[in-house]
């Protein structure tokens, strides 16, 4: 069977599975649509959270990012996992105890302020929409690369699938499809990794192979360092960026992760407070399986690529690979444009170098996509990688779309404009909001605004500087009042936006940047993506100062905070 047919079968099978789950898990109440009836087992929720969290970028691009950045990419590995420690200890159990449906709802109730709730809704929608554009693009790209369809066809197919299970099932349908999607994506990610690790280091566990040695006894990482230096690149294991920037960047990603609403609402689906704590641990186990495999995939695939195009020494005239002798996978990925060769010195050989005489352009996504072919794995594994990439994009898109649609139907409609709406109509509104959100996301996926590439910085910056501090102070500091919270959120948000726009252009409009986006121009060398940490500090400080100068929160709010801090009122107290 040829690869094309096989890919259609595997992808078609997974899609049929998702639709089957959608029909089985139809939501019949707002409680099911918003929070899956709060009946999801903590391990199952951990798995769903992992799929919710790991996006098209985690699956397709992260290993390549690590390959090219080496040690400096550790900020993503630590930053995108360390946030779960914060979720488990600072947010998830208390927000679960609060027992409502959305993140803005907590902020609105705790700070007894519709203004605070609206600020939170705006942050949520901007962060989630910018994030979902990348997923929509990921779906289109995965389709066009593996199934050779038009980008639009792929995008519409993906939208239709999400439409079926998200509109029908809400959080309930999304939860169970995410569990299936996790299984597909983790299998697709680890199988090629196991073989590439086995081939290179003799160890079938990539997490151990990374520290292992090659056939000649040299450790892999040492050999990779040496190979890269020979080609003119920096050492893989060397630190290239500034230390302060690395620390703040990591911190911004951690608190941004903890503050992203589509992740937080997953913890509303477990039955108990104790389940919310355990579930964060399980989520990190399932995320960790991919995140600890990624550095192995990145380094090993990069080494394979370098050795393929440069089998001999750089100094020797015949050290570089002859273009005519390139392997089949090289040809396959040339047709997609992920590998581009230009024979500048007309010697018929591929010179892969750092600098002006480089003849090979490598797209970082190839480190994952071409892996099964480089490791000479059978076609069904390649088909699986296609299904895995689609599962990663679909699961994250669905989670984001749910966060957006609940903010509209529950926070704006039920909370502010139509408080007397019946449950039946609210459920209908939630389904309509979901359908509308899918349309908007699809439209933006087809016509991505010019700033699409910058959006990750924006989403994490917003979550880190506005949402995370507001949630944490709401639980841990009883004295923060309505004015303090609103001023804090706006101060954190505005300072972060200002800093991002300063270097990337006002509203990302090209040519409007106030200064070139270079380390030399950055304040203390802090990159715009790392500024969320500073914005969060500004949020904390201004909220505390303003709250001290204005009236303290009323007594019932103090009681609300005391109430969410304990899983259940103690047994003796329930007696009277």
């Amino acid at each position: 069977m040829d690869l094309q047919t096989l890919t259609y079968i595997v992808v078609g099978f997974t899609f049929a599975l998702y639709i089957g789950i959608a029909i089985w898990a139809k939501a019949s109440s707002t409680g099911e649509f918003y929070a899956a009836g709060r009946g999801v087992h903590p391990v199952a929720n951990g798995m769903a959270t992992a799929a919710d969290w790991m996006s098209a970028a985690s699956f397709i691009s992260m290993a390549g990012l690590i390959a090219f950045k080496g040690y400096d990419a550790s900020i993503f590995l630590m930053g995108w996992t360390g946030g779960y420690v914060l979720l488990a200890m600072l947010l998830a159990p208390y927000l679960r105890k609060f027992g409502k449906f959305t993140v803005p709802e907590f902020i609105g109730d705790r700070y007894y302020s519709q203004t605070a709730r609206i600020v939170a809704v705006i942050c949520l929608i901007v962060a989630s929409i910018t994030y979902v554009i990348g997923q929509m693009k990921g779906i289109g790209v995965a389709f066009s690369r593996f199934l050779e369809t038009e980008f639009e066809t792929g995008l519409f197919t993906g939208m239709a699938i999400v439409f079926i299970y998200a509109v029908l099932g809400g959080m309930k349908g999304i939860t169970y499809t995410q569990i299936a999607q996790y299984c597909v994506l983790i299998f697709a990610y680890t199988v090629p990794a196991i073989f590439i690790s086995l081939n290179l280091t003799g160890n079938p566990i990539p997490q151990l192979g990374l520290w292992g040695s090659l056939e000649d006894g040299t450790p892999l990482l040492q050999k990779l360092d040496a190979t890269l230096v020979e080609l003119g690149f920096a050492q893989y294991t060397a630190q290239k960026g500034g230390t302060l920037n690395m620390v703040l960047y990591t911190f911004s990603l951690m608190i941004g992760t903890a503050g992203l609403p589509h992740v937080i609402i997953r913890f509303f689906t477990v039955p108990k407070v104790r389940d919310a704590r355990a579930s964060a641990g399980w989520a990190l186990v399932f995320i960790g399986i991919l995140y600890t495999t990624a550095p192995a995939v990145g380094s090993m695939a990069f080494y394979n690529l370098a050795k393929t195009v440069q089998p001999g020494p750089v100094a020797a005239a015949d050290g570089a690979l002859q273009y005519e002798a390139r392997p089949q996978w090289f040809k396959n990925w040339e047709t997609t444009g992920l590998l581009k060769f230009e024979d500048m010195n007309n010697d018929g050989r591929i010179q892969y170098r750092k600098g002006g005489d480089n003849e090979l352009k490598v797209d970082r996504d190839i480190m994952v996509l071409a892996n099964p072919e480089i490791a000479k794995l059978p076609n069904w594994v390649i088909a699986l990688v296609a299904a895995g990439g689609l599962a990663a994009a679909l699961s994250t898109a669905a989670g984001l779309l749910l966060a957006i649609s609940t903010a509209i139907s529950h926070d704006l409609l039920k909370g502010i404009f139509m408080p007397s709406i019946s449950e039946k109509n609210e459920l209908l509104a939630a389904r309509l909001a979901m359908a509308g959100a899918i349309m908007v996301a699809g439209y933006l996926g087809l016509n991505p605004p010019g700033f699409a590439a910058q959006v990750v910085a924006l989403a994490f910056g917003l979550a880190a500087s506005s949402i995370f501090p507001a949630l944490m102070m709401g639980i841990f500091n009883k004295n923060i009042n309505n004015t303090g919270a609103v001023v804090g959120m706006l101060a954190g948000l505005d300072s972060t936006l200002l800093y991002i726009f300063w270097f990337k252009g006002w509203f990302f409009i090209p040519g409007t940047a106030m200064a070139a986006n270079t380390t030399a121009n950055h304040f203390l060398g802090i990159a715009p993506e790392a500024f969320g940490a500073v914005g969060a500090m500004i949020n904390f400080a201004s909220a505390i100062i303003v709250s001290k100068m204005t009236a303290p929160p009323p007594e019932h709010i103090q009681h609300l905070v005391e109430d969410i801090r304990v899983p259940k009122v103690s047994g003796s107290a329930t007696d009277h």
Binding site: Y71, S74, L77, M78, T81, G82, Y84, V85, A88, M89, L90, P93, Q207, L210, W211, G212, S213, T218, P219, L220, L221, Q222, K223, T237, Q239, T243, M246, V247, T250, F251, K272, V273, R274, R277, A278, A280, G281, L284, V285, G288, Y291, T292, P295, E562, R565, V566, P567, K568, V569, S570, G571, S572, A573
Partner: protein, 88 residues
């Protein structure tokens, strides 16, 4: 505001804050310190072709994160029972 139940609630919260603080120190130590700031200090300790700081940054910190969430969850389950605020 000073019924026995309130003081017990405060003691529970204080015990929780103590646990969270210890865990956050460990969390920051393995990532920011071992993985980034102190990496040059540990550069002499080799771990499979790289050094200890590199290992923490690319693998060790993540493993510690996982373990510490489960430890915290177990500690809190115990605390919930001690203060009789457990759910079942």
């Amino acid at each position: 505001m000073s019924s026995p139940q309130d003081t017990s609630g405060q003691a529970y919260w204080k015990a929780n804050i103590r646990l969270v603080s210890i865990h956050l120190v460990a969390w920051a130590f393995v990532s920011y310190f071992c993985g980034i700031i102190l990496r040059p200090v540990f550069s002499g300790i080799a771990v499979g072709g790289a050094d200890l700081g590199f290992w923490f940054a690319q693998q060790g910190a993540m493993l510690v994160f996982i373990v510490q969430i489960f430890i915290y969850a177990a500690q809190m389950n115990k605390l919930d029972r001690e203060f009789d605020v457990h759910e079942d």
